[in-house]
Structure formats: structure tokens, C-alpha cells
Symmetry: C2
Subunit: 319 residues, 2 copies
């Protein structure tokens, strides 16, 4: 949560010349997102977020991300939509980065969502899946099984320094998942990072879905497994089945899971927990002294992974 690239008002003014959104009246760096620099921008014509894409984002993939948001927003999903320049481009260079201006969404993200919020979030995720179905862009999930293997190799030597037995847990989990990972589930556009930070609420309704920079084409039920991992565990590590049940019901009120998806939920949840365990572990052992972001503790997802390993059937999630 930081601003990596400094943008002065004067830089902004020049950048805004390509747009038709008036002059800036408020302009503040905001502590949101870990991969980009974000500024809150208010002009006489509206409220916006200016995003500068930092090194973690491959800017060749920007047209996919921006095009997806434009598609979803046009179909009525509450997500930011890129503002086009007069010359129709959705992004352009600013202070050595590629930058885009997106519409601002009201609402607040929750740290401790209730079961009711989980229900609504599940429904919103299914709506995203449904709305994404006719988007033609494609992007592979770079954080799928192959990506996990390469992260595990990079972190191997440091894993036990973070938690005793972690190296062994990761290795055995990878072997298991490689043998059993389901390949025939319904696929489509997934958000892949549908955490409470990325969902805004107003009056118990979803008013915004943000941060599409992990979105890709993959199994829809995997996205649901990520979301279960993100919303349905308590601070103390316990799994809250009431929340999970509410989330699954919310999801299925829009899109019914197939029997194969239901059966795969435990393994998908293991994969999802491993994915966040590995990326957090990587950031943890590679933290730079110059970083402006405190890395998140990977052990939270170690616990969640161990929970899913003990699940014997999908009903344990409240299906």
C-alpha cells in the first residue's frame, strides 16, 4: 500500500491535456494496491483513480485488463471503467510508467465481513463470471500449477526458516495437486484475487469490484475456491462454515455449480491456499529493504492449506 511513482500536479496537468475530463481539483496519492501507484483525482467533471502500472504488471497485458474492465462495466457490473483519451487510447506514458485513468467507485472494503456480506460477495462473483463469458480477450493464469512449482523452487531454501515443516508441506502438496488437479471444469474469465479488499460495499450491497490485475482465463470454480479462502476464515485461523455456506448459496443463486465443480471444491481450495501461501512466502523471503509495503505473513495460508487437507468431502464447505 504505497505510492511508488511520484506525480506532481504539473505532471498531472500535462497528462490530463489528452483527456476531456476537466482540470484537477483534488489529487492525492492513496495507499491502495501493492503492484501499482494510485492517485485519487477529482475534476469538475467527476471522480477518478489515476493508476501508474509499476514493474509487477506486464504492460503488454494492459489491453486485456483495461478491455475486461470496460466490458464488465458496460454490461452493468460495478467495476472501474477506463476513461478514454480524446484520441481513444485508454492508457499512456507518465513519469516513466504507463498510466490510465479509471472511474472512481464509492464504497468501503471490509476487514471482517459477515455471512450476509459473504452471500452478497458470492453472488457478485457469479455475476462477474456470467458477465465475463462473452468477453473475447484471453490471458493464461500465470499463477497456476506451473507458476506454483516455480515459486516453490525459488522459496525452497527459505521455507523452513519461516515455519518448521513448510518446505515438506509445499513439496507434498505440489505432488498431490499435480496428480489430481481437475482439467475439465467449466472455464471462463476469473478475477483470481476476489479478496475483501477488492470488493466495496455500500449499505450491504456490492458497490464496486476492483483490482483486476490477476484476472485471467481459468476454471470458474477455482475463483470461487480463492474467494472461500479469502472470506471464510476467522482471524484466529478457524474456518467459518456459516460464511462459506452463505457464499456458496449466493454464488449458486446466479450460477449453479456442476456436479464436477462441487466434487472438485476441496482440491481447488487446496490449490487456492497454496497459491497465496507461495506468493506471500516469496514476497516474505524476498522483501527488499527499500520496499514501501509490509509483506503479508504467509503462515495464515499455511493454516488454511492444512485445514483443506483435512476436508474429506465438499459438504464440509456447506454445499
Amino acid at each position: 500500500m504505497a505510492v511508488y511513482t511520484d506525480v506532481s500536479f504539473e505532471d498531472l496537468e500535462e497528462f490530463l491535456e489528452a483527456y476531456d475530463i476537466g482540470g484537477a481539483q483534488v489529487f492525492k496519492g492513496i495507499a491502495e494496491g501493492v503492484s501499482n501507484s494510485n492517485y485519487y483525482l477529482e475534476t469538475d467533471k467527476g471522480r477518478f483513480i489515476l493508476t501508474l502500472y509499476e514493474k509487477r504488471i506486464d504492460t503488454e497485458e494492459l489491453p486485456f485488463f483495461l478491455g475486461l474492465m470496460e466490458h464488465l462495466a458496460a454490461a452493468g457490473l460495478p467495476c472501474p471503467t477506463p476513461v478514454r483519451m480524446r484520441a481513444q487510447s485508454s492508457s499512456g506514458p507518465l513519469n516513466g510508467r504507463i498510466a490510465a485513468i479509471l472511474t472512481f467507485l464509492e464504497g468501503i472494503s471490509l476487514h471482517r465481513p459477515t455471512a450476509e456480506h459473504c452471500h452478497v460477495a458470492g453472488r457478485a462473483l457469479a455475476e462477474l463470471h456470467r458477465t465475463g463469458a462473452d468477453f473475447s480477450g484471453r490471458r493464461d493464469n500465470t499463477l497456476g500449477l506451473e507458476g506454483w512449482k516455480s515459486l516453490a523452487t525459488d522459496c525452497n531454501a527459505h521455507a523452513d526458516g519461516v515455519a518448521v515443516g513448510l518446505q515438506q508441506l509445499i513439496a507434498s502438496e505440489l505432488t498431490f495437486l499435480e496428480g489430481k488437479w481437475p482439467k475439465e471444469l467449466p472455464r471462463g474469465i476469473i478475477h483470481a484475487d476476489f479478496f475483501p479488499d477488492n470488493v466495496l460495499f455500500l449499505d450491504k450491497k456490492v458497490s464496486g469490484i476492483i483490482d483486476f490485475y490477476f484476472a485471467c482465463y481459468d476454471a470458474l470454480a477455482y475463483d470461487l475456491a480463492v474467494t472461500l479462502n479469502a472470506w471464510c476464515f476467522e482471524q484466529d485461523g478457524g474456518f467459518n462454515v456459516t460464511k462459506s455456506k452463505a457464499m456458496l448459496a449466493g454464488y449458486q443463486s446466479v450460477r449453479r455449480l456442476t456436479p464436477a465443480e462441487c466434487a472438485a471444491l476441496p482440491i481447488l481450495s487446496r490449490g487456492a491456499a497454496l497459491r497465496f501461501l507461495l506468493t506471500r512466502l516469496y514476497d516474505w523471503v524476498n522483501k527488499s529493504p527499500d520496499a514501501l509495503v509490509r509483506p503479508k505473513d504467509p503462515r495464515q495460508f499455511e493454516k488454511r492449506l492444512r485445514f483443506h487437507r483435512n476436508v474429506r468431502n465438499p459438504e464440509e464447505y456447506g454445499l
Copy 2:
């Protein structure tokens, strides 16, 4: 520029119960200020900044800072004013810190102010001095001569590692200032950190003066010397006398400098440059690996100090 203390929406909701400003609709950490955590807050009743005072601020001094802002705002100066709780308190505990809610001000701070902006800023500073005259609170300048001496002692061993000759420059400057520092100049409430970051503009008018957490009771002309240091040097280190002239004229259009103040301007400017050289040097050599803020390069103020040492008379500032 970071958020040190995390505040969830749920924490916020509880804190807001003591206020009469409605429920939150937007709540975002903002990258502003180096000593505090700041959040932008929007409710159905208005726009606010929630500030959590971190360790750099002595919370016993908060009543002075908050009382001063309330006084200045009530007198029409565009500065944030603390919102009082229903029980009339202007601050209260939140997540292990003391927190306050202040009114939000529109406008934008400039990185490269023009001479016209300097004129307007000079006028605003004089208005602050005039409006502060009938504020009864008092706070010593902890970053005056005695504070500089103690900072210099702390940084002594590291100074030459930052710039060759820096230790000797600081030592000789301190000796000089101790002998000649003027003690009889008109005193009053000063901002003491009137940098471009702390002044918001809308349509070339000052729409906001923020960050009063260095404010204290000291020589008014010293505040002007700080402001000259902050606004009238170019990126390449050069002194821009057109800007300085404009600033002094703006200031004097509201409050005329006394002959003693005019005569003292060169030495006050040396002291002001030394103050920022020392605090930046201290932060530079003591940077913590966990810091979320990149320290500012102290050498910028080394250059400014060397400039002022060569000034022979106040007219060189455009007086």
C-alpha cells in the same frame, strides 16, 4: 507518505459512533504526511480527513495543534478544523493511537510553484501570522537552536558519509548561529513547515494550509525564512530571486517586516536551511529497514545553506 496504522471499516464505524457526521461511504488511506496515518473519509454529511497520530507526535501537544487549527479556521483561514465529538472532545483513542477527524479541504499542492504562487503563498503566511496573534496557546520551537545542536551531535559521525565536508559545515554553522542568532524579533504563532506540500491551491488561490504539527511560538520572520527556503530554489539548486521577491512582496502586502527583521533575513535563512538539513540528515542516517517512507535527500539543504552563507545583504533576497 504512508499509512502506519491500519484502520478497518469496522474500527472506523465504532469510532464514528462518538460523532454526529453520519456513516462512511468512502474510506481510503492516503499517502500524505510523514508523521501520521491519514485516511480520506466521506460520509453523507461531508468530507473529512481521519488522522492517527504516530510516535513522532507528542499527544500531550495535540490540544495545542488542534486548538490552533480551530482558532485559525474560525477566523477564516483556510485550514482544517477538528470536528468535535458529541461529547465535545476533538480527539480520542483508535487502534492504539490518538485520532482526530478534521474537515477536508479541496485543492492541490504544487511541486513547481511559479512566482505568482509564491506571491500568494507569502500573503497566506502573513495572514496566518496575523490570525495567530490572538491565539492564547503556546508551544516552544523544539527544532530551534538547541534542537539543532542535539541533532548535530546525533548525526556527527555519519555526516561526512553523506557528503564530504558536511560535518565541518554543520559545526561551523552552529558556532556562527549561536553567536549571532537574533533574539529580539517580533514573535508569534508560526507554521514552521510552510512547504509547497502543505499549501493547497485552487485557481491560483490558496484553498488550504495543512499540517500544523510543527507549529510553535517563535520569530515570525524565521517562518518567512523557512518558506523562502522551501519555495524559492529550483530543482537544480539555483536560487530564484524573482520568486523570492514575489513572496516577500506578498507577505508584506499583509504584514510589513520591521527593519530588524529585514536585516536578519540572511541569518534566519541560514538557520532555516540548517534546520531542514539536520532533520533530513537525521532521518537519512537513521532510516529503518521497516520504514514505509523514503527519506528525503539532505544534500538539497546543504546546497541552500551554502547559498545563504554567501549572501552579503538582505537585498539579495529581493527585499
